[in-house]
């Protein structure tokens, strides 16, 4: 049992930690990297981190997938929270849509300015 606790704490720090790390890495890319594509990648990484966090909060120790199959109808008490999974599905699709639009904007910006560096694209200011 002691072993399990230890294992669990590693999982905890691992899951939350990696998700938070993803968010921070993405944030770093968005704030520091100059290349537009890298910024878009950064945004996607942030999204990924948030989605990971979202799934993680629905987890219940020793839980199973919230799917009823013949034979486990009484597994209700062991199932993980299904709501975050449903929500994250929506969030992922939205994230995809935003990324697609972002990439298309990058393509247009590159054609228009002949550069993909964000600090050189500032014809609109003040």
């Amino acid at each position: 049992m002691q072993n399990f606790e230890q294992y669990n704490s590693i999982i905890t720090t691992g899951v939350y930690g990696s998700a938070i790390a993803l968010i921070l890495i993405g944030l770093y890319a968005v704030l520091i990297k100059k290349h537009l594509i890298k910024i878009v990648i950064g945004l996607s990484i942030i999204d990924a981190g948030v989605h990971l966090l979202f799934v993680a909060i629905g987890y219940i120790k020793g839980g199973t997938a919230p799917i009823f199959s013949p034979g486990n109808e009484d597994a209700v008490n062991k199932m993980v929270d299904p709501v975050p999974q449903a929500l994250v599905l929506t969030a992922i699709v939205i994230g995809f849509a935003v990324t697609a639009v972002a990439l298309s904007l990058v393509i247009r910006l590159y054609k228009h300015h002949n550069t993909a560096r964000i600090d050189q694209i500032k014809s609109l200011k003040w």
């Binding site: 600090d119 014809s123 003040w126």
Partner: protein, 624 residues
């Protein structure tokens, strides 16, 4: 329908109609404007009972329109002058562009002022005040000259005034939970006991329109830039709206019963300071404006500065807070409306007939425009405060009030200096335009058309009458003063009781002097009409020096050179400069702050993160 609604409806409909019809012909448009204002005046003077009012609610706010004696006094100026000025406009504006817009705004200004007079609550007061303001702004920039410089300045100062008024209004609402003027007065909103901000903010608001220092800088340009037929209203009636408001606030402030609790000492104390401050501001306004009037070569500008100076006297009178002083101020307000209206009409007539108002270019119009000259002469006498006309009565009362009732001897000196200096520019105005030799350039000039002459003469006759029978004006003033808090203002027809109890019977004095003077003027005028030798003003011997052909050697140039040299230090510092520098400084600051928007998307993202971090750092103190 209720007469209040009817009058305003007529005016607004008249405005709309003259706008539409103005696309067809300027004369039709002007006639419609004149007819609507005349109809409104007729209704105003016949249909509305003093003290009647109506109540209704708009947007959840209780509004009340009514007519009181105080409003009636100003109604006389606004609608009387408005009717005459609109009649005058028909010919004046005849061949100008965009007249539809002019008449639209002209009638709107009249409607706004009528509304101000009707307003018994602050909200409708403010609404009509603003309508008046923006309509007059549109007229000022109507000609398309100096739009950026003068128009924007006028609007900024009007906005400063209007918004300080609005602040005061909502504060009254916040403190006394009423928008009704009478309720606010009864609750003591103006008497400095609870809140010194409310009266001060209101005074700033009204002071802008009354062109009091240091908020006067918009006035000369605006008066000058507007078409002259509107300047008649602008200077004659619109500035009186500021006087109306100041009188309301100051009257109630000074007459309030301040005996009693502990705080009253302080409030009484500050009232004295405020009184002195306003009085001195008025006095300084009068002096400075007079000095500037002296150096003007343009008759219209001269009158513009003179208007400001006169408003200074009125402010001084109101600031005395004594019966006599306030009475003097209100009397001056009415008389100033008449004579300044007449004078601007004169200038307008000259402008229309001779093409310019520059006194260095024209002179000797007396033969060409005798009626105009007659009006000018009578009005100038009133302006300069020479007996027997109204200006004298008003100033006399003002001096008396200052000396005997408020002991402001220094202020008297200042005022006296200013009104003496006013003789100089009065003289110059009369001399520059009408007397002297005729110019070749003005040979073709004819008398102004009859629709312009009639209003001028009506005003001139009114001046003579009010000079002879000041009681005609004093009796409405006496009732009006009761409305602004003065008790027992007694007034006998044309008998002036001074403080020593001496009675001055003005009637006989007035009639005698009036008859004598009028006949002398008539004599001079008629004599002037007779032919004399014709010498151009530029036929001057030059002591051996040969003047260049283009050189204008008229004596009108540098008319008051010695005097100006003496007063030179006064001209150096100008309020205008200070305001301009303030404006430039602010603009530079604004230019600096907007650099925050760098144009780099990443920076914006960084702002978001910084903001988030700040919020997170302080979240436990902010959102508990």
């Amino acid at each position: 329908m209720n007469s209040f609604f009817l009058i305003l409806l007529i005016l607004f409909a008249g405005a709309g109609l003259s706008f539409v019809l103005g696309k067809i012909s300027s004369i039709i448009s002007g006639t419609v404007a004149f007819l609507s204002i005349a109809a409104a005046s007729a209704l105003f003077f016949t249909q509305i009972e003093m003290g009647s009012f109506i109540e209704f609610s708009l947007g959840g706010i209780q509004l009340q329109w009514g007519l009181n004696s105080y409003g009636y006094l100003f109604g006389i100026i606004v609608l009387g002058l408005g009717t005459l000025a609109s009649l005058y406009s028909i010919s004046y504006m005849q061949n100008k562009e965009r007249t539809s817009g002019f008449y639209f705004n002209f009638v709107l200004v009249i409607a706004g002022m009528t509304g101000i007079i009707f307003a018994n609550d602050f909200i409708s007061f403010f609404i009509f005040w603003e309508i008046m303001t923006w309509a007059s702004y549109l007229i000022i920039i109507y000609s398309g000259k100096n739009v950026k410089k003068i128009g924007i300045k006028y609007m900024i100062f009007s906005a400063i005034g209007a918004y300080s008024m609005l602040t005061a209004i909502v504060m009254i609402k916040g403190q006394y939970d009423t928008f009704l003027i009478s309720d606010a007065i009864n609750a003591g909103a103006f008497n400095f006991i609870d809140n010194i901000y409310i009266p001060i903010l209101l005074l700033i608001g009204f002071g802008v329109k009354a062109a009091t220092m240091p908020l006067h800088v918009w006035a000369p340009g605006a008066y000058n830039n507007a078409p002259t037929s509107f300047t008649v209203i602008f200077s004659g009636a619109m500035s009186k709206m500021g006087v109306l408001g100041m009188g309301l606030v100051l009257g109630h402030m000074f007459t309030a019963d301040r005996s009693g609790s502990l705080t009253n000492f302080f409030s009484g104390f500050s009232v004295i300071y405020l009184q002195q401050t306003i009085g001195w501001l008025g006095g300084i306004t009068a002096v400075i404006a007079t000095l500037y009037a002296l150096i003007q070569d343009d008759a219209k500008k001269l009158l513009a500065y003179s208007s400001i100076a006169q408003l200074g006297y009125i402010t001084v009178g109101l600031a005395t807070g004594t019966k006599l002083g306030v009475m003097a101020a209100l009397f001056l307000a009415v008389v100033h409306g008449i004579f300044k209206g007449a004078l601007f009409m004169v200038v307008g007539a000259v402008e229309r007939q001779a093409g310019t108002t520059d006194m260095t270019k024209i002179s000797g119009l007396i033969r060409k425009m005798p009626f105009t000259f007659l009006t000018a002469l009578i009005s100038i006498i009133a302006l300069a405060g020479i007996p027997p006309l109204g200006g004298f009565v008003g100033k006399w009362m003002l001096y008396e009030a200052l000396i005997t009732e408020s002991n402001s001897y220094f202020l008297v000196i200042v005022i006296f200096f200013s009104s003496t200096a006013a003789f100089l520019y009065s003289y110059r105005f009369l001399f520059g335009l009408f007397l002297g030799q005729e110019e070749k350039e003005t040979e073709q000039v004819k008398e102004a058309p009859i629709t312009m002459i009639i209003p001028m003469l009506v005003l001139a006759i009114l001046l003579v009458i009010t000079g002879a029978f000041p009681g005609l004006i004093f009796s409405p003033i006496a009732t009006a003063m009761e409305f602004i808090g003065f008790k027992d203002v007694t007034w006998n027809m044309s008998v002036l009781n001074n403080v020593w109890g001496n009675e001055m019977n003005l009637t006989y004095l007035g009639i005698t002097i009036g008859v004598v003077f009028v006949s002398i003027f008539a004599f001079i005028t008629l004599k002037g009409l007779k032919g004399t030798r014709y010498v151009g003003t530029k036929d001057i011997s030059t002591s051996g020096e040969i003047p260049y052909e283009n050189e204008n050697l008229t004596f009108q140039i540098n008319f008051f050179q010695p005097f100006v040299r003496a007063a030179a230090p006064m001209y150096k510092r100008s309020m205008n400069k200070i305001w301009n520098e303030l404006g430039n400084g602010l603009e530079a600051l604004f230019n600096f702050t907007r650099k925050i928007y760098t144009g780099n998307g990443q920076t914006y993202a960084l702002f978001v993160v910084i903001f988030l971090v700040l919020m997170l750092l302080f979240k436990d103190t902010l959102f508990v």
